[in-house]
């Protein structure tokens, strides 16, 4: 899970491997805030699978690639 300068850099790095998913860094920032912001809270409780799926859905990460098991 890495940051890249451009699509061209991603394609070169993949070197023929099947690509995963590419999203803007702004979406990543939204995802990180929703996913991790409670991590150090005194009352933290483990997220359920459905809570995490709702976070992904909430920042627009839908479709088969983003479906949790």
């Amino acid at each position: 899970m890495n940051l890249f300068r451009s699509e061209e850099h991603i394609a070169r790095w993949l070197a023929g491997r099947s690509p995963g998913a590419t999203i803007p860094v702004t979406t990543l920032c939204d995802l990180a805030r929703a996913w991790w912001s409670d991590r150090l809270a005194p009352g933290w409780q483990p997220h359920t699978r459905d809570q995490n799926q709702a976070i992904l859905d909430g920042v627009g990460l839908t479709g088969a690639f983003w479906q949790l098991p």
Binding site: L3, W13, W35
Partner: protein
């Protein structure tokens, strides 16, 4: 998750933030007021529940997500200290978990060019960068270190 495991998990995370590195078994035992064996057993249960990640066959923390116990290409400087994230997502996650602005220093895996992103008020200063996730979500925990 049982209450005593939750308490151990919270102590472990607090120490990780304070120390800028993963706590040892001894450090966690002292802070939590429990024995070494209780820390090792508790960390193993937390590992099995994906609440942290241990090194293979050792009572040693590899990840307390989003924090990494080992140096990675994803460094975060914030609040006068620095930590490593396990990946770019986790690097942003460290700022989010701490609720502070920060600077993420990483590099392009293709060309090696250093990339630095300032996070201010929960927004990146360089919005042109892209994030690539190679592994589908259904497989993230099959090999979390690779993911």
């Amino acid at each position: 998750m049982q209450d005593h495991d939750l308490e151990l998990r919270n102590v472990t995370y607090r120490l990780f933030v304070e120390l800028g590195r993963a706590p040892t078994v001894d450090e966690a035992a002292e802070a939590a007021g429990v024995t070494r064996a209780e820390v090792e057993e508790g960390w193993r249960r937390l590992h099995d529940e994906h609440a942290l990640v241990l090194e293979p066959q050792a009572a040693q923390i590899r990840m307390a997500n989003p924090f990494s116990a080992v140096p990675t290409p994803h460094r975060v400087r914030a609040a006068g200290r620095s930590w490593y994230g396990n990946c770019a997502w986790d690097a942003f996650g460290i700022c989010a978990a701490l609720h502070v602005d920060g600077r993420i220093e990483t590099s392009c895996p293709d060309c090696g060019e250093p990339l630095a992103v300032e996070v201010r008020d929960e927004r990146p200063d360089d919005t042109s960068l892209l994030f690539h996730c190679l592994v589908p979500a259904a497989q993230w925990w099959d090999d979390i270190v690779f993911t």
